[in-house]
Symmetry: C2
Subunit: 244 residues, 2 copies
């Protein structure tokens, strides 16, 4: 296995999980940058790296530079740090910049949750072999993709994670107004997910929209209009989409 | 424990799971009705009951009659079978009919999936004690509710099950167009659900909508308009709803 020297540009949730996984795999994280020095120090302290809040002090000794930043900052950071003969990558699902490789881990990262990075799928877009080798050293799930595939993965991930979660938040909101706990719905949530292990989501679809039960839909709409008018748009849009 | 004689009006997924659970708890299912005799026979054969496809042949010997039918049929069936001094209930989340109790199991039932009914929450609306006792004999999760609470539970269940599942189906659709498997998203789906064990759905919300990342949203919209125009409405409606 190759051991690389890595510099992390960023110290948020993704950078933290990634930095720990890189360290655990036997690589050396030489520097951690954050615009807030205290954030850089926290992560650098955990993985034995040097912190900095100054992009001009990023050293040229690393093999791979990973930019873990918000999409609108990636371009700016790249322009400041780009170096000849160095591998530079970002971790964004949507951004595409000439000369920057992509190291896209498809997972939702939370600061306070442990996560086994060896099970996180990582999607690589690069013509430089270091990124692929680095990914393969920290997870068993490495896939080379095109830009269009990566963007489809990111969009699909928004539906699976952000949008599904919003469905749960909305349900919780509906129950809260009648003094009911979300716990009542947990067996249903578990079964919803278990079904997907055995059949496609399309086959698993049930409910008034897919079976064209207009009477129940009208009863729902009456309740929504009376008590939850904010949810009228999403109820209608999703019901229509299911029926298409 | 009381042992009841039960008649099931209906022989679909819910009736099948319910009938087996009732039988297992030591009650007697005397009759199973379905408008299709073959369906009544299949379920009746499994739980040692008598099948019929004629509502006029429903006998008056049972203690509890459970109507497990589509919402628009419940009223009609009730008018044909109603009897003095008998407990009649339906299993619908939304329907409200004077004189009919409610025995609402909140779960998604599939014909070919085993399900432990003792973990299914059942919501009871009735002034007759038999329904409550029957429910308590087949599941540990029995709750008395008002009509408004039951309807909120049903609406919330549509968000948790039907709508979340549609998010997964849409993601699968997006991936399919780029020759990608839904399997890539399963670690994300698992983590999405595990998070809900530790925090509320509102706290778990991440993604471009909640953090106001307009650049990523615009990139998504560009991809959707080009490749998945059918999904423009739900993407926009859900993104707006998250941002509210």
């Amino acid at each position: 296995m190759n051991h690389y020297k890595i510099t992390l540009i960023g110290a948020g949730n993704v950078a933290t999980h990634l930095g720990k996984a890189i360290k655990k795999a036997g690589h050396e994280v030489v520097q951690v940058y954050s615009h807030a020095l205290s954030n850089a120090e926290v992560l650098a302290g955990q993985i034995n790296a040097l912190p900095t809040d100054n992009l001009n002090r990023i050293e040229t000794t690393a093999d791979v530079y990973i930019i873990v930043a918000k999409d609108d900052l990636i371009h700016e950071i790249f322009n400041q740090i780009k170096m000849e003969r160095k591998v530079i990558a970002h971790t964004s699902g949507m951004t595409a910049i000439e000369g920057v490789g992509v190291f896209y881990p498809l997972q939702t990262f939370s600061k306070n949750r442990q996560l086994d990075f060896s099970k996180v799928p990582v999607f690589i877009e690069s013509n430089q072999p270091e990124l692929l080798k680095l990914a393969e050293s920290i997870t068993t799930k490495v896939f080379e993709v095109t830009m269009h595939q990566r963007q489809a993965l990111h969009l699909a991930a928004v539906f699976v994670n952000n949008f599904s979660n919003h469905m749960l938040a909305t349900a919780n909101n509906i129950l809260g107004k009648e003094d009911l706990s979300f716990d009542y719905l947990k067996p249903l949530l578990e079964e919803t997910i278990h079904k997907i292990e055995e059949m496609s989501p399309k086959q698993a679809q049930t409910g008034p929209a897919i079976r064209g039960d207009q009477k129940t839909i009208e009863q729902h709409l009456a309740v929504i209009k009376e008590k939850y008018p904010d949810f009228l748009d999403i109820y209608s849009a999703i019901t229509n989409s299911i029926q298409q």
